[in-house]
């Protein structure tokens, strides 16, 4: 157990850093950026960052790599057909559950 005073010190530092990293750039950048390179860069950032965060981390997000691979395949197919975020997340999780049940009991 972490005592309350110590915990609040940690919490303050953790939340403070996280908030500043988000808030300062949003407040400092005023108006629209005109530079087309910067605008293009910022346009690609969300897709690049999500891709980097997903692969290869997704393969180690479940108990077995094989269940994660099949879960990813399901997510890719459903997303390709424009299913919503929730549908994709639920079906990927359900797929992992089924695959791992099969691996465990068959």
């Amino acid at each position: 157990m972490v005592d309350a005073i110590t915990f609040f010190k940690y919490l303050l530092v953790m939340a403070g850093v996280t908030y500043l990293v988000r808030m300062v750039p949003m407040v400092l950048v005023r108006g629209k950026i005109k530079n087309n390179f910067v605008r293009s860069f910022l346009y690609y950032v969300p897709y690049a960052v999500l891709s980097v965060m997903t692969i290869p981390a997704i393969f180690y997000s479940t108990s077995y790599i094989i269940s994660a691979i099949i879960g990813l395949a399901v997510a890719l197919v459903l997303s390709y057909f424009n299913r919503g975020l929730l549908t994709v997340a639920v079906f990927a999780s359900a797929t992992v559950l089924i695959v791992e049940l099969i691996l465990k009991y068959i």
Binding site: V2, L11, V17, V24, V29, Y47, L72, A75
Partner: protein
């Protein structure tokens, strides 16, 4: 500001500023967060935190990767410097997203709105709100940050309480939820726009190189790998496939 004359459409001028539309767009994120935060709640309590501590961490940080990395430092009695440095590195990507999102803000977004909205500028909130064709307004931003915030906090509470009841196999299945959500954000756009597809694939190749080449993996932390790969992929594609200049259209209409 009228020098770049282009015909253009109205897209730069209209501002999406409906609170209820924001709530609605935030709902799938909220439900996705319920399961991801649920998993966080379980792991935080297993690591040795109280339920209220796990919930406060979620309410004060609203970030999956940072929290996952922070809990072990807290329970093992790490230094505040270590905690601060870890959060800075893992969450540095948000500063890119904050700058990027600020470019989507319409005229209604004031200074105080930025102070509040930036608190819940997560990967998903950022990706969904900036995928709108038009600029977004303050009411929309309050809607799309409120629902995910509730989902994240509530999910942590439920997970922290239910922790030991759930079988391991269910927890394993929930582990993929957040990544599946990332896939669902990237794929539809990659399908429509070739450069986004190639940028995503390029970023994945970089990510695999940094994760699997022994020397690199040993010396660079996870947070830095994310930043380095993102910056390289973004910069390369900004050079090879710059986006069309929409700024000019807006200037014409507002001027």
């Amino acid at each position: 500001m009228l020098d770049d004359n282009q015909k253009g459409d109205d897209s730069g001028m209209n501002e999406l500023n409906s609170f209820s539309k924001g709530i609605k767009d935030g709902l799938p994120i909220c439900l996705g967060y319920l399961s991801v935060a649920f998993a966080f709640g379980i792991s935080a309590v297993n690591a040795g935190l109280d339920i209220w501590q796990a919930v406060l961490i979620s309410m004060a940080n609203v970030t999956s990767a940072g929290q996952l990395a922070g809990v072990p430092i807290i329970v093992s009695g790490g230094t505040l410097i270590e905690l601060a440095a870890t959060q800075l590195i893992i969450n540095l990507r948000y500063s890119l997203m904050s700058i990027s999102l600020s470019q989507k803000f319409g005229k209604s977004v004031r200074f105080v709105d930025k102070l509040l909205v930036s608190f819940v500028n997560t990967d998903e909130v950022f990706a969904v709100s900036s995928s709108n064709k038009t600029d977004v307004g303050r009411k929309y931003m309050y809607g799309i940050t409120l629902t995910p915030f509730i989902g994240w906090s509530l999910g942590t509470l439920l997970g922290a309480m239910a922790g030991n009841i759930l079988p391991e196999i269910v927890i394993s299945a929930l582990g993929i939820a957040i990544y599946a959500m990332f896939v669902a954000i990237v794929v539809p756009c990659a399908k429509k726009e070739r450069p986004v597809l190639f940028c995503s694939l390029f970023a994945i190749v970089l990510s695999c190189i940094f994760n699997y080449v022994p020397v690199l993996k040993e010396h660079i932390s996870n947070g830095f790998i994310i930043i380095i790969c993102t910056v390289i992929a973004g910069a390369v594609f900004a050079l090879v496939a710059p986006i069309p200049n929409e700024e000019a259209k807006e200037d014409i209409q507002n001027g």
